[in-house]
Amino acid sequence: MNQTASALRILPEIILTIAGIAVMLVDAMLGKASSRKPLGWLAVLGALAALAASLWQYQLPAGTAYFGVVQTDAFSVFFHVLIAGIVLASLLITLDAVTDTTEGLGELFALILFGAVGMMLMTSAVELLLVFIALEISSISTYIMAGYRRKTAKSPESALKYFLLGSFATAFFLYGIALVFGATGTTRIDDIAAVLAKSVGAGQAPALLFVGLAMIFIGLGFKVSAAPFHVWTPDVYEGAPSPVVALMSTAPKVAAFAVLLRIVYGAFPLLHAHWVPVLWWLAVLSMTIGNLGALRQRNVKRLLAYSSIAHAGYLLVAFTALSADGIAAASFYAVSYAAMNVGIFAVISHAGGYDDRLTLIEDYRGLAYRSPLLGGAMAFFLISLIGIPFTGGFFGKFYVFAAALHSGLIWLTIIGLANSGIAAFYYLRVATAVYSRPAESSPVHTVPRPSLALLFALFLTAVTTLWLGIVPGNVLARAQTAAQTYPSVNAAAAASPVAQQ
């Protein structure tokens, strides 16, 4: 493989890096008093270019680059496009929420872009060490962004908590990689599978391997905020600025899910009898703890944090299906979750502003009266999160549970769908508040006029959500092609029936 082709395989990452550096350089050159907002538009341009490059990557033949550590295939390109889209929408939301006086604006835009580089690299890395490096790139930028509202009490606390727990989790992940290396002698994902094929075929899998895999699960479980590794989520979401939450509740999670998919289906498909029950329990716990936790929340961002834990659970359901449909369902769900979650945080960050003027559910009372557009958008995204048909949220859930049921996971399906019934409660509480008349005594929260950037972001997310619900065929086909990257799945599933719970 020649060098030009190698660069093309990481083209979106390169573009984002260049854009990030450009933002920082221009930031340094601008005068102290001048507005930093144009930097945001520069970053948006970079994200657009990265999105275009990601879409273009569909034309590349599948293959590896840089000594086989980076792989572009239908799977990684699928997630490249998704992450580029999320970053684009998040940048627009950030542009809308911040003011000229917001501290460190230039760095914020640069951090978003650099973080995105790490997330994208995570999805295309096929060497565990590169996965780790990419994970760190993405994590460090999100740690910083979580603490961006320095003047408040909550934000630094949230950042510190996130940083401490997060570095523990990455340490676990790294230790897991080391143990897997000890057991198999390699850190390349396809080599691990090949080594396993020999040793498991011979009827032996070293105990070291299981410990390593468990460590990897802990690390990634933290990153996707699956229960019981979820405790940081509500605090961090509450403290971080809303536009940043739009990004960090979606893009890093999506990337971590992609990594998890690649590891379990790419490296350890033969051990599925061992990891499927683990993921089964993680899914059940995440769904149940997420939904029950959300029921008790009065703070909207904390509520959405618990909801995101529950959604991580739904996504894990697809993992346990152990079929190409399951992988496709997980990928599709990631897209629809991202669209509706970024969308709802777009509304929150505009209505509440960068410094969170609206926090409790009651504060959202009458939003639809003050601004029909924002109220309608919020209700729409909530409806999608509930999983009402003809929205992306429904089709995603439908496909996930169809895949699970197809693999005979009837109890998981029942638990999951009962959970989505519970979820309707708390989403509806927010929706009802948005559409209730504000109390006479309550202070009037004025909603500023939506800026062009916000309209752009809302349009992008709402249309995607609706599109995924009504004509999901195109995205679905791409997700299914992406799932074909793991040919061993169906063979493994056929060889021995799924562990029934």
């Binding site: 029909p372 209700a379 409806i383 509930i386 009402i388 048909p389 003809f390 429904f394 439908f398 496909y399 549970f401 169809a402 049921l405 197809h406 005979g408 009837i410 399906t413 029942i414 769908l417 009962a418 989505s420 019934g421 309707a424 409660f425 509806l428 509480r429 929706a431 009802t432 559409y435 209730s436 999901p472 065929g473 679905l476 086909a477 299914q480």
Partner: protein, 520 residues
């Protein structure tokens, strides 16, 4: 060809209308007028269906069957048979009525109201005509959302609570419906109603699993009807919802679905659970009637009257006799019609006197003779006076199901008597006697042109459905006869009842003729 696209048109003209409503200016009565136009166009389009319906043919007509999503195999498959034909017509007919009754009641935020109103039309029509289970489920769930939003935004003071209750009550069991649908898909690889029907009929399913699946369907539908112990949301919703929504919230969607899916897909299981459902229906019938007697709020009274009437339909369905089934469908339409008319008139009363409390009324007849007349006519139609639609439905249900379950049906007959009691008592308390202070102190005008326009079509239809019932019955019966549960029953059991049925079976329209004759 219009025949190929008519169902798509009927379903999505309201949606297109809703999009236009969202773009119209909030000025004067532009939005309601436009919505009225849309609903009228939909109604006129839907008249194409009975005009070109082939009563002799079995199976679905006006079908559209296009691939929608390749994998999982989901198709855009619409079609109607005799069962859904009149329910679609009822829905489109109640569209303009709903707009007219909201004309004055909804003054603020008309854009939101009519947007969701039209979306609700689409969802309801979609439920009746979808033949792909995925599509069906989509419309089924979709029908909850505009309804809940409208109740929350435009209901009375406790609207948001009622909306939440309604949504949770109906959404939770839908989860199990979805599990059942997904399970069927996992086993068969298809969402097609007709294919599933033949696959299930040909066996190959574990009976126990089928049993659970049928329960998943039944519970979701029974809540929506509602059937007796699951009726907790009904009174709140009818009390709090805007009239246009209270008119359509209960009954037809759930009853139709029980018919189509529980009897259509799971005939054995439906038969097995019939005794329980009959008992619940009769209890609900009597319970509703008794509770209605104790109400002083008109809308609560109507809510329990509706519960009672709907239990009647459930009774008819689970007796598995052709007459009873015809009657159940007929009674579903009746309930939609008379219940709506009653709610519309209550809303007109409210617009004049500002109260739903019956005890504050009295002697209204002297002031509003026209309204009083139409009210009494509707009351009589509801309690089943011959010459009106209610009689035909009740007669068919009772006569059809009496031979099968004499004791339960005898108990149900008491409910009919009770319905006379609460309905006439309500009319007496509101319209007759000495004028109450509330009534005496106001000088309202009698029905205006808009109100005449709202009520007369309904009242005339009640009379028409009373005297010319065969016209409707022939369509319904052509739909009922194709259900596996019915055709099997004539052959399997050889006792007195099914012999009586067997006589009736070859000449389907006899029952209808007999009733019509009786009515004349």
């Amino acid at each position: 060809m219009l025949n190929d696209s008519i169902l798509t048109l009927i379903t999505f003209v309201p949606t297109a209308g809703a999009v236009v409503v969202a773009l119209l200016p909030r000025k004067g009565r532009v939005i309601p007028a436009f919505t009225l136009l849309v609903t009228l166009v939909t109604f006129v389009l839907s008249l194409h269906l009975p005009a070109h319906f082939d009563y002799a043919r079995h199976g679905f007509q006006f079908e559209v069957n296009l691939p929608w999503i390749a994998h999982p195999a989901i198709r855009y498959h619409l079609g109607i048979d005799g069962l859904s034909l009149w329910l679609v017509l009822l829905t489109t007919f109640l569209g303009p009525v709903g707009v007219l009754v909201s004309w004055r009641a909804i003054e603020t935020r008309t854009k939101e109201f009519y947007f969701f109103f039209l979306l609700q039309q689409t969802a309801m029509i979609g439920v009746f005509i979808s033949l792909d289970l995925f599509l069906y489920y989509g419309f089924w769930e979709l029908s909850l959302v505009p309804m809940a939003i409208l109740i929350a935004m435009f209901g009375r003071e406790r609207g948001p609570r009622a909306a939440l209750k309604f949504f949770v009550y109906t959404f939770l069991p839908s989860a199990f419906l979805l599990v059942a649908i997904l399970w069927l898909y996992a086993k068969t690889g298809t969402f097609e109603f007709v294919q599933l029907q033949s696959l299930i009929a040909s066996g190959g399913f574990a009976p126990e699993a089928l049993w659970w699946a049928s329960l998943g369907f039944l519970v979701a539908f029974a809540v929506k009807v509602p059937v007796f112990p699951l009726h907790g949301w009904l009174a709140n919703v009818i009390e709090e919802a805007p009239i246009a929504m209270a008119m359509v919230v209960a009954g037809k969607l759930g009853l139709y679905s029980i018919f189509r899916f529980n009897l259509g897909l799971f005939p054995e299981q439906a038969r097995a659970i019939a005794p329980l459902m009959i008992a619940l229906a009769v209890i609900g019938l009597l319970y509703g009637a008794l509770v209605a007697l104790a109400q002083t709020d008109m809308r609560r009274l109507v809510a329990f009257a509706i519960l009672s009437n709907l239990s009647f339909c459930t009774l008819g369905i689970f007796c598995f006799a052709v007459g009873g089934l015809n009657g159940a469908v007929y009674q579903t339409i009746n309930e939609g019609l008379t219940g709506s008319a009653l709610l519309v008139m209550i809303s007109f009363l409210y617009e004049r006197y500002g109260s739903f409390d019956m005890t504050r009324y009295g002697g209204v007849a002297a002031k509003l003779p026209m309204l009083a007349t139409l009210w009494v006519v509707t009351t009589l139609a509801l309690v089943g006076l011959p010459l009106f639609n209610g009689f035909v439905g009740e007669f068919l249900v009772l006569s059809g199901s009496f031979p099968v379950h004499p004791s339960w049906v005898a108990a149900a007959t008491t409910g009919v008597i009770l319905s006379v009691a609460y309905m006439l008592w309500m009319a007496q308390r509101i319209f007759y006697g000495q004028p109450s202070p509330l009534v005496a102190n106001r000088v309202p005008f009698d029905l205006g042109a808009r109100e005449h326009l709202t009520l007369w079509p309904m009242v005339l239809l009640m009379a028409a459905m009373g005297v010319a019932s065969p016209y409707w019955i022939k369509g319904i019966e052509s739909g009922v006869m194709q259900f596996p549960a019915i055709t099997r029953s004539a052959g399997v059991t050889g006792d007195r009842q099914s012999a009586a049925e067997a006589v009736r079976t070859p000449a389907p329209s006899q029952t209808a003729d007999a009733v019509a004759g009786g009515a004349r």
